[in-house]
């Protein structure tokens, strides 16, 4: 009898309405879509071919012909950012996929079984967590050789404990609820209950964490390619572009500025999206916005 006034609670309709009213969700979604579109368009068309070096045009400042200027080999920076987006998104997305694919089942298992298994899984997670992610990624790529695939695996491994923890915490909060007890009284086993009741109820939680890990993945990929362990030339990548620009900051600042903006805007957009989603799902978190 305490507070039971959820004004207009009917499912999807109000969810969509809340989404449209949520500014960070809209901005975040717009930025994310633009970045993804940019990556997709780059498959079909870019202003200039990024594999062709035109030394005559090297280090041109931004102009009508080259909006973002050119680099030290005369390649168009805008084209390189577009192509680089592909790499960043693919690496981050697959890394999130690995993290979710391994982490969520692990977390759910730990929550469902409890006891020693729970301890074992979570302490193993702690072990992975204890290593600084980027440092270990450097180690992995150093051992198995640099390249996009190895950096995906390295970043993915460090997403596993994050998702395992979030899934476990979410699942633990659902397990003692009465509808789980009712499902058990209906003879359903732990696996079936997890698939039918636990996962749908923690899906939103995982989605929010997914966008955050996606943003972190993009940063990590940029970090790895900056130190030369990510995607290898001639494939352009945002981190590598920053590295190339570093020594030419004084003469050609646009070489650093535009890839930097690309990274910052993408990460910001994804974070806004994650914030937006969590606000929409749980409007209580921002009553006093």
């Amino acid at each position: 009898m305490t507070l039971h006034i959820d004004t207009s609670e009917d499912g999807t309709a109000s969810l969509a309405a809340r989404a449209l009213r949520n500014r960070s969700f809209i901005i975040g979604l717009a930025v994310t879509i633009i970045v993804i579109l940019m990556a997709l368009v780059s498959f079909l068309w870019t202003p200039y071919d990024v594999t062709v070096l035109v030394i005559a045009d090297k280090q041109q400042p931004p102009s009508a012909a080259h909006w973002f200027g050119t680099d030290h080999f005369g390649r168009d920076i805008l084209s390189m950012i577009m192509v680089g987006a592909r790499n960043s998104i693919a690496v981050a997305l697959i890394a999130v996929g690995i993290g979710m694919g391994v982490g969520v089942p692990l977390g759910c298992l730990a929550a469902a079984r409890g006891g020693l298994l729970d301890e074992a899984v979570m302490r193993l997670n702690d072990l992975v967590f204890a290593f600084p992610a980027l440092l270990s990624a450097v180690m992995i790529t150093a051992v198995f050789g640099p390249g996009a695939i190895n950096s995906v695996i390295a970043i993915g491994i460090f997403n596993v404990p994050v998702f395992a923890r979030v899934a476990r915490a979410g699942a633990l909060a659902i397990w003692p609820r009465e509808f789980i007890l009712a499902a058990r009284a209906a003879g359903k086993g732990a696996t079936l209950i997890t698939v039918e009741h636990i996962l749908p109820n923690i899906a939103t939680l995982l989605m929010v964490q997914g966008t955050i890990q996606f943003a972190l993945g993009i940063l990590a990929e940029a970090g790895l390619s900056y130190v030369g362990l990510g995607a290898q030339p001639p494939m352009p990548s945002w981190g590598r572009m920053l590295f190339d620009a570093q020594t030419r900051m004084a003469t050609a600042p646009w070489m650093a500025i535009f890839p930097g903006i690309a990274i910052a805007v993408t990460v910001l957009g994804l974070n806004l999206l994650g914030d937006g989603i969590s606000d929409i799902i749980d409007p209580k978190s921002r009553r006093r916005g």
């Binding site: 609670e9 009712a182 009284a185 003879g187 086993g189």
Partner: protein, 565 residues
């Protein structure tokens, strides 16, 4: 008690939230030293009235009318003025003691917090005052030092802490919103007693919000009956409740004493009364009556929980949640298991449902042992044994539609029904509990509490079980809804011949629909017999305490009338 000038005055209060009218002109006044009850069913606007007085309404709320407290116009007061009032001159006690305290702060800090904030007292003084207050509400220093955390206290003790926080600064007005609804009858009586003595001691006004007429009859000087945001009737408690002039008041009073008509199936009538063997362990097995005739046979079942970890290797002695309990239930028989909260009722129910394993003892269902069986072996037993839970909000997965929710136990059938057949079965079950087959496409949040409890019952009867275990199935419902649900239980008992194990602390429920009653106390069954006999002439101390504490409208009114002469 002669009320002096009014402390709280509400005139023509209108409130709408997001365009929806919630209160439509409520008038109410509370004087110093007076207890005024605000009665109504859920959604009648009781809590909203209280929140208006505290100015703790949600942001989309618009109010009009006049609310004055001690000369201050509440509706136009600033947030700063309200902050000075709340917790100082006006205290509030909430319904749910489990969530009303901050789990990471000690009880001492929480009581002292308000004192320091409002009076600017230093820590030592505030803590001394907090200590006195906790002593006053019945939490003495020896057993309840200030450094206790909320999770170390029981529900009743936490509610005492909440009351201590609310009353620490001797408020002029205390608002108690269903302060005892979440507690068992014995605790309820203690908490009400405490509130009554606090009111008498410091002459504060008490605005008591409740849906329980028996509680109100006992506690309040005046009563205001709300329905749909409008005042139905107001006046002196005894006059209003004994006269029952207004039809709605009469309806509430009747519902609160409702006893469903039962057509008891023949099997249950002839069934042997419960055989309970407290000394079962001492009897030779041959002397025990054969279990063939009974549906459920629980034999000296115990459940131990490991004690608190004292150090790395040492543990406290284990807690006996259920201690050597034996009883049987025959087909079609309706048995109540009554006891205070924490007495082991729910643990016992879980073991009967094979959701928890007994530490020792044996449970037989339809003659087969169900203890220590694997999930596959239990399948056929589970088909005949279903459950209805207390909380109509928590017992459904919010993300599934009714069709899937109600069909969940069909998972147990040997042959899974096809989709069309499944829909048919769900539709039938929904009709049986008085809902429409069209409700299949809805989500649980589209239903009211009473309707959800109907859904819960539909889910329980869809496999045509022989036994339904109901864990406090009506204690979260309003009186009139409660009466309807009890009727439904009685009807299904007659129609389908289902046996019930009803777990409750509410004796009216036990009286209304059960043949036999088991009284449980500290894990043991201390008394058993026909419901009427046990509740009419309780023998054991536990049963006597329950009967004495149970609020009863007639008794309370008779007593009040006698007092007033």
């Amino acid at each position: 008690m002669k009320p002096s000038a009014s402390l709280l005055e509400i005139e023509g209060l209108k409130l709408d939230i997001g365009g929806q009218p919630v209160l439509k002109g409520v008038d109410l006044s509370v004087a110093s030293g007076e207890t005024v009850a605000l009665v109504g069913e859920s959604g009648s606007g009781k809590s909203m009235t209280a929140l208006t007085v505290m100015q703790l309404l949600p942001q989309a709320a618009r109010t009009s009318g006049r609310v004055t407290f001690d000369g201050i116009d509440i509706l136009s007061a600033t947030e700063d003025q309200m902050c000075a009032l709340r917790g100082d001159d006006v205290g509030m006690v909430f319904q749910e003691p489990m969530t009303a305290l901050n789990p990471v702060k000690t009880i001492g800090e929480q009581v002292a917090e308000g004192i320091r904030w409002h009076t600017g007292a230093n820590r030592a003084d505030a803590e001394a005052l907090a200590r006195r207050m906790l002593d006053r509400v019945g939490l003495p220093a020896a057993k309840f030092p200030l450094a206790r955390y909320p999770h170390e206290l029981s529900g009743g003790q936490r509610q005492r802490v909440v009351i201590a926080i609310a009353c620490a600064l001797k408020p002029k007005l205390l608002i108690a919103d269903e302060p005892t609804t979440a507690l068992d009858v014995v605790l309820q009586q203690q908490i009400l007693e405490l509130l009554r003595s606090l009111v008498a001691e410091s002459r504060m006004g008490l605005l008591l919000i409740s849906h329980d007429l028996a509680v109100v009859a006992d506690m309040s000087d005046r009563i205001t009956v709300l329905k749909g945001g409008e005042v139905m009737e107001a006046g002196e408690t005894v006059r209003v409740l004994s006269g029952q002039v207004h039809p709605y008041t009469r309806q509430l009073a009747l519902a609160s004493m409702h006893v469903p008509k039962r057509s008891v199936p023949a099997v249950a009538r002839s069934a042997v009364a419960n055989r309970v063997f407290p000394e079962a362990s001492r009897l030779p097995i041959a002397d025990l009556p054969t279990a063939e005739s009974s549906l459920l046979d629980v034999q000296s079942v115990s459940r131990l929980y490991p004690g608190r970890r004292l150090s790395l290797v040492r543990r406290d002695t284990p807690v006996h949640a259920v201690d050597d309990v034996s009883f049987t239930i025959a087909s079609g028989q309706s048995v109540a298991l009554v006891g205070r909260s924490g007495c082991g009722k729910s643990t016992l129910a879980r073991m009967v449902l094979a959701l928890d394993r007994p530490t020792s003892g044996e449970i037989r269902f339809r003659g087969e042992t169900i203890t220590g069986r694997s999930e596959t072996e239990l399948k056929s037993a589970r088909r005949d044994m279903q459950v209805v839970f207390q909380d109509p909000y928590g017992s459904f997965d919010p993300r599934q539609k009714v069709e899937r929710l109600v069909a969940e136990p069909l998972h147990l059938l040997a042959k899974k029904p096809a989709r069309a057949e499944r829909r048919e079965m769900v539709a039938h079950a929904l009709e049986e509990v008085g809902l429409s087959p069209r409700d299949m496409e809805k989500y649980p949040h589209e239903f009211s509490g009473g309707q959800r409890q109907r859904l819960s019952i539909a889910r329980a009867v869809i496999t045509r079980p022989k036994l339904v275990v109901a864990d406090e199935p009506v204690s979260a419902l309003d009186v009139s809804i409660r009466a309807q649900i009890l009727d439904l239980f009685a009807e299904l008992n007659g129609k389908l011949g289902v046996a019930y194990l009803f777990i409750t602390h509410d004796l009216t429920v036990a009286r209304a629909i059960t043949d036999d009653v088991l009284v449980m106390d500290e894990g043991r069954i201390v008394e058993h017999g026909r419901t009427g006999d046990v509740l009419g002439h309780p023998q054991s101390q536990a049963a006597r305490a329950l009967v004495a504490a149970a609020p009863d409208l007639h008794r309370a009114l008779a007593r009040r009338m006698q007092e007033q002469g």
